[in-house]
Symmetry: C2
Subunit: 654 residues, 2 copies
Amino acid sequence: MNNNSRVIIDFEPISRRLYYKKNENFYELLVNSGIRVRSLCGGFGSCGKCKILVQQGYEYLIPPTDSEKNFLSKDEIHGNFRLACQCKIAETQINLIESYPQPQIRVFLPQEILNEDFKILTSGINKGVNLSPNVKKIFIEVSKPSLENPIPDLERISYSLLSKNEFNENQFKPSFEIETLKKIPLILRKDNHHITLTLYGDNNIIDCEAGNKVTNNYGIAFDIGTTTLVGYLINLNDGKIYSVSSALNPQTAYGEDVVSRITYIKNNKEGLLKLNSAVVDALNKIIDETCNKSKILPSQIYEATIVGNSVMHHIFLNIDPTYIGLSPYVPAVKRDLNVRARDINLGINRGGYAYILPLIAGFVGADTIGVILSSEIDSESELTLAIDVGTNGEIVIGNSDVLATGSCAAGSALEGAHMKNGMRAAAGAIDTIKINHSDLSVTYTTINNKKPIGICGSGIIDAIAEMLKSKIITRSGRFSKELIDNERIVKNDKNLEFVLVKKDQTSIKRDITISQNDIRELQMAKAAFYSGTRIILNSLNQGVKEDYKIKQIFLAGAFGNYINKSNAKFIGMIPDISDDRIHQIGNAAGTGAQNCLLNINLRDKARKLLEKIDYIEIAVAEEFQREYAQAMYFPHLNLEHFPSLKEYESILKR
Amino acid sequence: MNNNSRVIIDFEPISRRLYYKKNENFYELLVNSGIRVRSLCGGFGSCGKCKILVQQGYEYLIPPTDSEKNFLSKDEIHGNFRLACQCKIAETQINLIESYPQPQIRVFLPQEILNEDFKILTSGINKGVNLSPNVKKIFIEVSKPSLENPIPDLERISYSLLSKNEFNENQFKPSFEIETLKKIPLILRKDNHHITLTLYGDNNIIDCEAGNKVTNNYGIAFDIGTTTLVGYLINLNDGKIYSVSSALNPQTAYGEDVVSRITYIKNNKEGLLKLNSAVVDALNKIIDETCNKSKILPSQIYEATIVGNSVMHHIFLNIDPTYIGLSPYVPAVKRDLNVRARDINLGINRGGYAYILPLIAGFVGADTIGVILSSEIDSESELTLAIDVGTNGEIVIGNSDVLATGSCAAGSALEGAHMKNGMRAAAGAIDTIKINHSDLSVTYTTINNKKPIGICGSGIIDAIAEMLKSKIITRSGRFSKELIDNERIVKNDKNLEFVLVKKDQTSIKRDITISQNDIRELQMAKAAFYSGTRIILNSLNQGVKEDYKIKQIFLAGAFGNYINKSNAKFIGMIPDISDDRIHQIGNAAGTGAQNCLLNINLRDKARKLLEKIDYIEIAVAEEFQREYAQAMYFPHLNLEHFPSLKEYESILKR
């Protein structure tokens, strides 16, 4: 009995496409494909832990079982939640689904059920900032009242503050948050009129504690990515990172990229609130986690700084992002914002604040300001290209004279989405690949040295570059006819595929391959970056005497940190400059948020950057179509753009 | 069968002492005493409406009946709630209760069950203020974005604002509340980029609406009294009062004066929160009520201004008032405060603010600042005494040169509390009294011309003054022996009483009398005012060449508005100056709150008053005991203080 079907199920947020076998339940499908899923009972429907959300194709499934009715609430059942171990496709539906050309079923795996630690890049370059935080703690001994001098508590506290040398009486007009005020009478008398005040900015007293608590002064920097969230807990007295936590952005349950999330918000009445709560809850979990690791309390965190792209920025603040997605692509606001943490439900100190870095324009958000602040591209003497490779791609080109930016719809191919065997960078992902040019045998490495499950972004770039060098594919991205009889090139549903790892060596018991479609996805992604870079460069070169040329590249973002630079050049994703001028700068956006927490002067700098930076709407540029089409070739239609690839001329000229 | 008992029950907040008859339920007791109580079933335990709270003496009552178990929640039963129509004193307990000299049972009547409209003074003098409110509405037409000029919403709005002539670009830096920001994308596009912004203060944009909504601009001024609450809804565009609502302060359930409320807070873990919620909920009901009357929405109210004494001020802000009640009597804060309405749960516009007038010191609160602002005593050329007669008494003495204030523990005798037949000013209260000096027959008037139920403050002053003039009592407050055989002078429990109204003419079927104890209560209250005035005056006269003398009196507060000026002088409550120099200025505290809403400059003035005003702690003054003892006499031990009472010399010299 052949129980293989041609039914594909997309699993998010891990970006895996799996082939469904008849009668298999979803738990078995996941586990057999090497995806570790949380379950206490081992898939027998008796623990209720393997809860999944069916986002598309619910109608094809068997109805909820008794076990599901037992473990799931009515709301969950109505909301299309299932238990993976109970959930199957109804046998009568299999033929129907197979008749569709596109995958019909999409399942979201909540973070709780994923056992694998994902490789979320949390570290970044740090060019070093001076410590000058916005939050200071001050210990004072307050005078006591008397019948002769019955001065109210707050006024006595103000006198004690003003008597400290560090404050200038003319400039320092302390104002007390109502939350502080409420505490004062009891706190003041708890430790003999010795108190510690928390000063936010120049004048705002946001907290008071009994006794001397000046050492407990923390901030947290957040990078809100479309796919991943990272929080850095920082001691504001010494500037050190005390702990870091990360998580997948739970908004991925509602759409994998910013455009699909905007669509979700437009089509669902409570959509904005749902997405907003999802991300805020996740950030609050990160707050708790970093605090637990460092043995401090969330109430000892007084400020959060935040970077994120424009859509993440708006949703985080509960502002409708719809008009960012519609021409002429304007956000509601771009200036930087100081918002009281409790107004946006952020679980730090009740009197605390969030500082949200400014947006640049359209889709180019506060994350790009973060990249510029931490990489200091605006101080470089030579023209530098910084690309931040995430679910969205942002491009910055600049030096001490000029600065321009734009965003390109790179899609999430480089994060493994839409690829037949693509996956995020997690244990078992193939991350580097070499192909023997004579016999096409493949050597590879995987993350954590586990049996391969799929290919992550850096592996995909390697695979394509190696397939080019081995003449398996041509410059236009097609399989070359010469090698079509090689045993590693197979046909599947009329599409050619190159077998990287044979099924007996994989965890998923199927070949891991690169398909013709995968090659197209990568071409589109790399063409978006390269053509975007060209268009921004063209705009800088308009009306100048001598053309600016890229002399240095900063690769930011998780993906940018792991790729093989030569191969990225070889496929034409980045301009052709020598490897030692290409720097991997890690999570530069997150570092920018940290720096703003450590030094308030960087907030002034961020505001000034907004005046200096040119925003280029890449997709509406006149030359966009031509540039994009030319960049679809490996490395480019015009080989003069890649002079260093001379040794491969014979291959590339084919 | 004589079923009369000597068991007294105190009913609050109406300040009525009623004699309990054996086997009577509390509903019958109330109704038979002329107090209208809400009930749908007429007292048969079948509607559950006559809910009351037994604050003291619960142990003397019969256990809850089936009807009570049916209509009251478990929490209510545990919290000593009863149904009036089911509740009786257990027969076995009557003798025990009678053996105590003091009343043992105290019952609180929630406002819902009281059918009587109380006479809460809501109007006051208004010397007229210029209209210059802190909240302005601005209509603008915002430019639309384009691909060439993809300027974010907020930035386009800012440009439109700055292009208005009324704003100076150098001074006007509009900042947007996060609540405003959240609304902007949708509001802007709702009516073709025509919007109305609400500007609070110089720069803060607290709301935005689609279209032109400049006419909907309201504020509300609150007077938070110990016993009564009043709210004035004011149109900030024309300065007119649109509607007024008042209510009893529900905190009276936890103690009738500020000292007993502080005690409640000290003794109950959640006490502060309970009292805070009670008053905030009541203010929110007033907001809803005034809005309904004026057919506007609470969201169209952008600012609330608030006056109240120091303890009411602290509880309203959820600040522990304990230390106001303990030597050296310091509040947590005295400066004026701007607090976001939603931070204190006030149900006006979400972006709105509350402005709380400053306190002076100790028990002298923002209500006194309100009195000074509205009476403009600080601009008078002649030395003026202002007394605010409420549950607490505040005294201000000043003119354009000097200004001093203090508070006196007048108790609530003048509001009818602790008097045998005392009651608040409500329908059926005797409010004026004349006694025929030859036959001691009494003529009187009642509020709303109803059959008399009791005596309110102005009636009590009249009664005492008339009893003095008719020689029924002596200057020391004792019944004079000469008239002791008159039929109107009766003995009750060994105490003498003067019968004002015989039982066949009352609603309560008992004599309405003034007892020896009532006279003592009044003596203490009036002595507190007069000695307080003397002590403040003494302090002003220290070290000055020529003594300051009171040349004018302002009587503020509900009670001050209704009393007979001559009689108030006759009993020695206020200094002896001619009637045409005594002005009744109504709810001057509330008017002060209104004025601060209408004109922001008065807030500067309030701050400056704090620097000018001297606070005198009356009770700790060296001469207090002597002054108080002398003032216990009618009108005073030293008759030279009251030269105008010469015609009564023969009576008073006895």
